[in-house]
Amino acid sequence: MNRIFWSIVGKELIGFIRSWQLVLVVLYMFSVEVYIAGSGIEINPRNVAVGYVDGTAGGLSQKILTHLHGPEFLAPRRFNSQRELSRAIFDKEIIVGLVFDADFEKKWRQNKSAQLDILMDATAASQAYTTLNYLQHIVLDISKVNIPVDIVTHKLFNQNADNHTFMALTELLSIITMLSIILTAVVFVREKEQGTWDLMLLMPVNPKVIILAKSFSQIIVVMTGIVISLGFVVLGIFNVPVNGSLSAFLLLSFFFVFAGSGIGLFIAAVARDVMQVAQLSIVVMMPLIFLSGAWTPIYAMHPALQYLSYISPLRYYIEGSESIFYRGTEWIDLWPYFMGVISVGGVMYWIGFRKIGRLF
């Protein structure tokens, strides 16, 4: 039994390595893709393009503008008229436009309330919100309003709200999800397509061993990718802090990849050819990836979808990974994530396992 198991695993691994294109693509995803996402994507307002029209002589207005500096803002660009400014906003070259009227400074000096017009491109909603908040702070600062409250903010676990490490990790988790589902599904469906799957099930070998071995071989492939990506990119280049235990993460990953291959098994059982696998896995994967809390927050979602997200193993995996890397949560407090991944993943694997193992 044991010998059969390992020889099937070996056969699948050799099959994987023989296809150099596949090896290359998988390696690329685990390294370069993670690197690109981590190095350049910024969800916080960073490099917000600011433009302004200044009708005043430029004392107070310049003072306000000097507050808009990097890394949040690009150097403000001057426009000669409001029309030019709006045109630039329409073309998405500028996100925030400030308009200083001719009597802006005069009014302020006369102790009247001066009005600062701000034009914002609200299609970039989150940037717009935060930028507005920023400007309000600056204006409060300048008009010397004395508020007797001092707010001391501590950002826990990630003091600078550094997005790079976070995005690299998010991308890695997304890639793990995609590969564990697709690779497993295709390994089975290819046999179905070629007609060898029925033969496999009819062989005098326990079909359960075959299924386990085949899916286990793909789990090995993904786990290897995870280790490579962790070593070279996530920890090597981005220095993601490891406040918790790395072995906890690897263990959690292993269970998650198992869950992913369970989903893959299910898809393989339903689909008849690779084309259907591709379509089904996209329908399953994209909601999993984008609605499990890595790219967008869960709490703001439609309530029905929030409940649905409980059956996504990725949700537990993401929160668990964040806890391990940033919050430094101890083993004992990690049990909800392990429970979540194992129970949801276990059920999915079991369903897929049953379905693909049936001959008729």
């Binding site: 296809s19 596949l22 693509v25 893709e33 690197y35 190095s39 350049g40 910024e42 969800i43 393009a49 329409f90 998405k92 006369q110 009247k112 009005q115 600062l116 701000i118 491109d121 609200a122 909603a125 717009a128 919100y129 935060t130 908040n133 920023y134 309000q136 300048i142 008009s143 309003v145 007797p148 707010i151 501590h154 826990l156 676990f157 990630n158 709200a161 995609m178 697709i182 690779l183 295709v186 690779v274 084309m275 259907q276 591709a278 379509q279 089904l280 996209i282 994209m286 909601p287 984008f290 790219w295 967008t296 927050p297 709490y299 439609h302 979808l305 806890s323 919050r327 949560t329 407090d333």
Partner: protein
């Protein structure tokens, strides 16, 4: 191009596509993604769970707590516990932020002395952390400035006008971008398997042996998918307009033209992948890699391209989704149309994409055994 042969081949391809259960998926997939994401993706942070530790229990501190309770952004629990316990709650991800009001809060305020309010934000999700931070600060500053008796001299009033999306509705900001994402992923994944499937099964030899030219072969593969997916343009538009109630300020013709071009780009990406790969699995993984995550990242849903730096800035310009989405947002929310030179330029760029991708595909397609 010989029209008669082409017609026959297209008929064969079309009936093959229709015969599999695929046809449902062609229309189910975009609609499902649109609905799920349209309701699912929200960029604002609402219902952040904050714990307020009110050590003062005075009238003013209650007032402040009340301000938080009335905000739709927060779900407040007021507790008395020590800081370590609160910190543990954050570590267990049961709380997103903690606000600590000191014991002498009211007394010091009434005397005009400065008091400190401690705010601890969980920044394990950085963007959510910063957003929560600014919300918390906003609430406290608002409450505080309401308490100050006389308006200060020479104040500056911010008069903010948000363009294109006056109500700051998340739907308006997200749904047009979703169309760009869906129409990139769905056509590409079908097209990506069309040729490589024949390679794996060996039926590609029919093409090798037939007098069909390479261009005719690609056209025959491309046109059925193109026709099937053209209908999705209208289905998605209807969802956007009537379900998500996104305004439509531009010209319908530009939307149509740009979308057809974009579908062509997407199919051409798929065909190119199908030409260069040897096995279906590689084609699937490669297509997923170049469409799903880039399509989402560079769609402008989560961040504007102008804020990107380094490699991802270049990558954003390489992927066609950026150009199409610019036109989409223009058509839905801005309504500049062809008067904007950028829209004209981007339409041309999309057309150039089609030409380049298809000629590469034709060039690299082999018509003999290697």
């Amino acid at each position: 191009m010989r029209i008669g042969i082409l017609k026959a081949y297209i008929r064969k391809e079309l009936s093959e596509l229709l015969r599999s259960r695929l046809i449902i998926m062609v229309y189910l997939l975009p609609t499902m993604l649109m609905l799920l994401f349209g309701y699912g993706i929200r960029m604002e942070v609402t219902h952040a769970r904050i714990a307020i530790i009110d050590n003062d229990q005075s009238r003013l501190s209650n007032l402040l707590v009340g301000k938080f309770e009335h905000s739709k952004y927060f779900d407040v629990t007021t507790t008395v516990m020590d800081e370590d316990e609160a910190l543990r709650k954050i570590k267990q991800a049961q709380s997103d932020a903690i606000i600590i009001i000191p014991a002498s809060f009211e007394k010091r305020l009434l005397k005009g002395q400065t008091t400190q309010i401690g705010v601890y934000v969980d920044a394990a999700f950085p963007s959510r952390g910063s957003t929560m931070e600014s919300y918390v600060q906003g609430v406290i500053l608002n409450a505080a400035s309401a308490l100050i008796p006389s308006a200060p001299k020479g104040s500056i009033v911010i008069n903010q006008r948000t363009l294109f999306n006056q109500a700051m509705r998340d739907e308006d900001a997200i749904v047009p971008g979703l169309i760009g994402l869906v129409l990139l992923v769905a056509p590409a994944i079908i097209a990506a398997l069309l040729i490589v499937k024949e390679k794996e099964r060996g039926t590609i030899f029919n093409f090798y042996a037939s007098p069909l030219s390479k261009a005719e072969f690609i056209a025959a593969k491309l046109i059925p998918v193109f026709l099937l997916h053209s209908i999705n343009i209208f289905i998605l538009l209807l969802w956007a307009l009537y379900l998500f109630e996104v305004p439509f300020r531009g010209s319908f013709w530009i939307y149509w033209l740009a979308s057809e071009l974009y579908i062509l780009v997407s199919i051409s990406i798929g065909i190119l992948i199908s030409v260069i790969t040897r096995t279906q699995i590689v084609a699937v993984v490669l297509t997923v890699m170049v469409t799903i995550i880039p399509g989402f990242m560079y769609s402008g849903i989560i961040m504007p391209i102008s804020s990107m730096v380094g490699m991802s800035r270049y990558e954003a310009h390489v992927f066609p989704v950026m150009y199409y989405n610019h036109i989409l947002y223009d058509v839905f929310l801005v309504g500049e149309g062809l008067t904007s030179q950028k829209t004209q330029l981007y339409l041309v760029i999309l057309a150039v994409y089609v030409v380049i991708l298809l000629s590469l595909g034709t060039l690299w397609l082999r018509k003999e055994i290697r």
